[in-house]
């Protein structure tokens, strides 16, 4: 297999592509023949967005596109995806960049002649801002019909019209895509459409019977799915026009978002939080597996004399194959002590998720939460069926306020020592989570020292950026000197680093 990229073939392919597309407009459209450049720009943008694209992968992508028809957008996308994106949670970032870079190559997403015409037609209309002769009612009616039939091409055409008409896009206007999206969707009234679709289905007689709740639920979900699709189509349409207006690079830059592993726990949106939650689980599993494995791998147990003799029988009594006992697997006990005060509230939520995920992996995880008082919450995690319930109970039932509900690490640690010091054994690992903002109370850091002497390890995870440590009332270093490690832990990447550090260290 030849590794060098056949540029001529690529150029040829792109020219074929351009003639197949067949539309005259070229506002910001990359010139035919520059496919190699476009791909390089694309890879560059992926890297800028944080995706780790190596040289090999880059070359693979170049080779891969030689084998696919560029006209076939889906295949083209899957070829690039398979070679460049090796993490599932990077897929969204990839899709965004892909849409930006290749939106101008595809009039409709399918890219056949009819779409090309529609595109040209739409271009013509764009200047005037009027969508042909259709009245808003007609447009709404057609949209409803298309939604009912689930006709994608029609939806795309109508979405384009709706964007021309409602979004009020003007070249060079410094407004984000969200604004246009909002304007368009407000006019389309998705919620109203959902209700109308349900009504229409019933009129046509193929809707669910009045009293059948299940069927109604299923039908509604099906419609919701289509509306979601419509939303995506509108979004893609707006994005495409913005790209045409502002150019590929600028657009890609504005759309750049942190990858899931770089999302800050403290400022994660709800959606991002859900994604994080899913990502935590494998991490704790890895932690569990590695911690349990370490001893197993490190040392074989003592010689098992009985088994050795037994096996020597197959070699005529020569003990040729010494047998060893399996060492007992270690059962690490993990104690998590987490600050859940207001200053780290969103981190605390994440912390609890982490604890919950760990509890399902390790046989012995005990957890405490504190503000200025401290309470053991292990039972909530053991009893609860799902994470939301566990967190709810922690927030409502745990007794963590002692005086005024402002963090007091000193007091919390003191109570912790009083109640549990004797339970800490050389098998226990203690993980403390918090920003160590102690509201100028006494630090009582001697307690951490005491804990560290008894326990196998003490780690501190701090959700604040390192630059803020020890500023104001933060006294993380006072505690840190007694810990086996203090880690900045603001996103998944850092959490992963912590996990691998303790597993290897």
């Amino acid at each position: 297999m030849s590794l060098p990229i056949n540029a001529a073939k690529l150029t040829d392919a792109i020219e074929r592509r351009a003639t197949a597309g067949g539309e005259g407009d070229d506002g910001g459209r990359p010139q035919p023949g520059s496919m190699l450049d476009v791909l390089q720009g694309f890879v560059h943008e992926l890297r800028a967005a944080g995706l780790p694209v190596s040289m090999t992968e880059n070359l693979d992508a170049m080779r891969a596109v030689e084998h696919v028809e560029l006209v076939d957008r889906d295949t083209f996308k899957s070829a690039l995806g398979a070679t460049l994106v090796k993490h599932h949670h990077h897929w969204r970032a990839f899709e965004t960049v892909f849409d930006v870079y290749f939106s101008l190559y595809a009039p409709g997403i399918g890219g056949d002649e009819a779409d090309a015409e529609a595109w040209a037609e739409m271009q013509a209309m764009e200047g005037g801002g009027a969508a042909g002769d259709l009245s808003p009612e007609e447009l709404a009616e057609m949209l409803l019909a298309a939604l009912m039939n689930g006709d994608e091409d029609e939806l795309r055409r109508l979405a384009a019209m709706a964007v021309s008409r409602y979004a009020g896009m003007e070249p060079g206007r410094p407004v984000g895509g969200t604004y246009y999206l909002y304007r368009t969707l407000r006019q389309l009234d998705l919620e109203g459409l959902a209700a109308q679709m349900m009504g229409r289905a019933r009129e046509q007689g193929d809707g669910p019977p009045e009293d059948d709740e299940l069927a109604e639920r299923l039908q509604r979900e099906a419609f919701d799915e289509r509306l979601k699709r419509l939303r995506e189509i509108v979004e893609a349409e707006i994005r495409r026009r913005l790209v045409a207006d502002r150019g590929v690079e600028a657009m890609a830059r504005t759309l750049r978002k942190p990858l899931p592993e770089d999302v800050d726990f403290m400022h994660a949106s709800r959606e991002e939080m859900q994604a994080l939650q899913r990502a935590i689980y494998p991490l704790t599993r890895a932690l569990a597996a590695r911690l349990a494995q370490r001893r197993k791998r490190k040392n074989r147990g003592h010689l098992d004399f009985r088994s050795t003799v037994r096996h020597s029988l197959s070699y005529g009594g020569v003990p040729a194959e010494p047998k060893f006992r399996h060492p007992r697997p270690s059962r690490p006990e993990i104690m998590v002590v987490a600050d859940i005060s207001g200053s780290v509230a969103s981190f605390a939520r994440f912390t609890l998720q982490f604890v919950y995920a760990m509890a399902s992996q390790f046989s012995k995880v005990r957890s405490w939460v504190f503000i200025d008082g401290i309470d053991e919450v292990t039972r909530f995690f053991q009893e609860a069926d799902d994470i939301a319930e566990a967190i709810g109970r922690v927030n409502t039932e745990a007794d963590v306020v002692w005086v005024d509900g402002h963090s007091d690490y000193g007091h919390a640690l003191e109570v912790f020592r009083e109640r549990h010091l004797t339970e800490i054994t050389p098998k226990s690992s203690i993980i403390l989570l918090g920003d160590a903002r102690n509201n100028y109370h006494a630090s009582q850091n001697g307690i951490v020292k005491e804990l560290a002497q008894r326990a196998r390890h003490v780690y501190w995870l701090n959700p604040e950026p390192r630059g803020y440590w020890d500023t104001g009332d933060s006294i993380v270093s006072d505690y840190g000197i007694y810990c086996d490690g203090v880690f900045e832990c603001r996103n998944l990447r850092q959490l992963e680093r912590f996990v691998s550090a303790i597993v290897e260290g």
Binding site: D72, S78, L190, E213, A222, Y315, A320
Partner: protein
Amino acid sequence: MAERFSSVPEVIESLRKADYLADTNIGGVVYLADRLEKPVLVEGPAGVGKTELAKAVAEVTGSRLIRLQCYEGLDESKALYEWNYKKQLLRIQADREHETSWADVEADIFSEQFLLTRPLLEAIRAEEPIVLLIDEVDRVEIETEALLLEVLSDFQVSIPELGTIVGAQRPIVILTSNNTRELSEALKRRCLYLHIDYPDLEREKEIVRVRVPEVDEELAGQVAAVVRSIRQLELKKAPSISETIDWARTLLYLGKSEIDPEVISETLHVLLKYQSDITKARKELETSATPTGATAARST
């Protein structure tokens, strides 16, 4: 090299004949794997047909499937090759009287007939077309992963005593992972990446139709719709495709031609494997008529 497929649609078409319904993405990646001669790393939730894909590819290309099931503690003696230690000992013992020189004995006991081939070596030495499936690769330790690298990038194995054995042909190699841990970058770099997710409604319906042909179209549609609905709940373990198929079969055996909440409630244990999930889903589906409009559309 003989190219196994000539186009993406052909891949999809022929996989279909093996009762495997691939979407464009799956088809595209399999096609590329063939053309670029690269292994494919398939990830996705349990039970979406990752292993099935390998089997189907083997079937349509008329290849033998060689499978390496990974587990924690897998090492090279189980994955690559092992010297037949007992046989070597016997050989040495049998030789005592003849006083053969040590060099001869050594050359003899480290020859092919004392070599036990394990799946990877077997795949490399195979003469006939094969598909190599390395299943659940995320279960081996990171250190063991390195074992696979030579095989994956060059399709060869180095055995110190015998030298490097290079594969006669480039088979399609499929690795699956349930994503219980991140695989190393080195491994990922050598593979094409394919993420298979739960199928959309239409595809799932078709899958049910193909796998359980006795089910009529309407029931299949209902099955797919209910399963999709259940997957949207927050569960410990969402129903997989294989469970969907099992459920369709169950309904068939029970002689149900239509789904109502009662039937679901009775047979939910086929789809869900945690008591808490079952309770939750049952509660949800029974009190399902909350009259809100485009919830999904709004929340995105």
